[in-house]
Amino acid sequence: MQQPASLYEPLRFLTLELQKQLYQVETYLESGDLSQAEQSLKRVDYIDNHHLNLLRRISEQTKTPDQTQPTDSVTLQSYDHINHGLKALSRQLQAIVFQARNAPKTAFRLLNKKRVHATFKHLTSGLELIEPAIEADDSTLAIDICRLQVRIDQVCQAQLDKYQNRLRKGQQTDALLNASFIVRDLGRLGEALLRIGEGIISANLGQMIQIERYHSLEATLSALSLNPQEEALTIRTMGETKSGCTISGVMSSQESEGEMLAVFKAGDKAKLKEEKTGIENWHEVYPGIAPQVYSYHKSGNKAALLFEYLTGDTLEKLLLERDRKTLREALQALFQTLDNIWQETRIDSVLPAHFMRQLKKRLKDIYQVHPELESQSVTISGVKNANMKTLIDQAEAFEQTLTTPQAVYVHGDFNLDNILYDTLSRDINFIDLHRSDYTDYVQDLSVLMVSCYRLNRFGPQDRKLIAQTMLAIYDYGHSWAQKINDTDYDLRLALGLSRSFLTSTRFVLDASHAKAMQFRARFLLESLLKLTPEQASTYKVPKEIYHD
């Protein structure tokens, strides 16, 4: 991690003082020498000074960054994290001294045990590791610091068990209780070390992590028989999903330059569980389209998923690069794949997508991001223009009159960036499968089309290719609809597009782009509601809406 002098210096002083405090507490517990206890308590003042000094400097750096050598925000947070970890350590050492001062002499003899010495040894090496870990290029030493927590916890627990057994015999209860309290407090010091290691790892990874996640990463990797401690393996942050999961790439530097071995996703257990189930279901209904899951690990409400890194580019990338030839190839492969999937996964049940219901559920979130889109009903010289809510209600009633074909297994979040195309093998793969289910195929098509439109590119050439891509998707869907005799394709698609146009505004910050999407959402509903039954039977989604 970075070592800006203004922060690293006070941190080193702080660490140094803590080492002294730890040493004095250790000597005090070993010898019962009260002067050592006093010495250790005096340290607390120094420690407080360094702690506050570092706090102040971190806040200064946050407010007015050093122009010549700016420190990134994660590093600042990491220093903050380590600072608090060290302060917590000091406070707990202080509490141990207070406890010991009131303990009977015999308690000191009880503390003169192999396991208590081991705990101090671990703590000492933990503190000694801080500087080298900060200065190291990788996180190996920081992970070692974190690991000490587990060891400290184990030895202290074992010692506590011993005390407990002796307590049952009813002798020396006072001394045993005091010793138990002290050992319990010692055990908690590992927590502080964990926070410190976590701070360093966060700075190295470029994002604040919770060590529970990193633990799961380790557990996941060891299941793959990869060891994150091996220098050959690096973990690179790739981003964050909309649902707040972190995504990292696991790479081996041994093989050809930084080859990606796997993708590691960590976060909310419910979300990742859904994703895992989604992937597994795909393996069942249509093998080969979803990545392989290497391992899944959960702890508390957090989970981690390690899965195959699929080669290829997302369709989004192909579209944005305006590589027309490859894009067309990719679309062709995609449509062929969809043909196969829909053919093979078709079930007897009819499960409508309920586009308007989906839209209603998200309205609040949409207006939170774009309050200006919440329109009122207006009348212009007697021509009425209903508000969005009324339109959606009416459209929902209209939707119920439509026929939906048999359900197929759909992706559920079929955005351009969730579809991968490998130019060499010409394979299509799906990722981000936590919302897959059986429903109307139009669900996926409408989401895919709007994921084109919502792209944040406004060059005329970009917009043209976007419109053409949307049209291609429409045409493909249309040909499928004809194949299966789906007469209400256009009507349902219009509802689906309307739904996605409006809900996608949540991810579009450009106000005029968001407005254009809202206009399209409205326009589609208005046109549908104006249709006579006769017109409805020949209705086509107007291709003009694909253009800006």
């Binding site: 449509f335 212009i380 050439q461 043209k464 891509t469 049209l471 045409d475 326009f523 107007p542 800006d548």
Partner: protein
């Protein structure tokens, strides 16, 4: 490539009948798909697309009232873009005729 922006502006005092006349002319133009405006130097022909943004603004103050109607659509004059579709249904080949 004729990329120059063209601009036409007109302002005058009119009675109610004349204003209705102008509005009707605009309506006719919309129906036809071409609205022509010209002065002594130049003529601009606007070709409304099937879809356009419509913005209506009404202002009322003590001394004046106004009605602004803005109709805006994107037009595309560049021809250097490949128009062949990205998807061609193998079963029902589409005729790519442009008249």
């Amino acid at each position: 490539m004729g990329k120059k922006n063209k601009r036409f502006e007109h302002e005058s005092l009119q009675d109610k009948d004349a204003i209705v006349c102008y509005l009707k002319a605009v309506i006719q133009g919309f129906k036809k798909g071409a609205i022509e405006v010209s002065d002594e130097e130049d003529t601009i022909t606007l070709k409304p697309e099937k879809l356009a943004n419509l913005k209506i603004k009404a202002d009322q103050s003590k001394n004046a009232q106004s009605l602004n109607i803005k109709i805006q659509w994107s037009s595309d004059q560049s021809e250097d873009f490949e128009e062949t579709p990205l998807f061609i249904d193998p079963k029902t080949p589409k005729k790519k005729k442009k008249s």
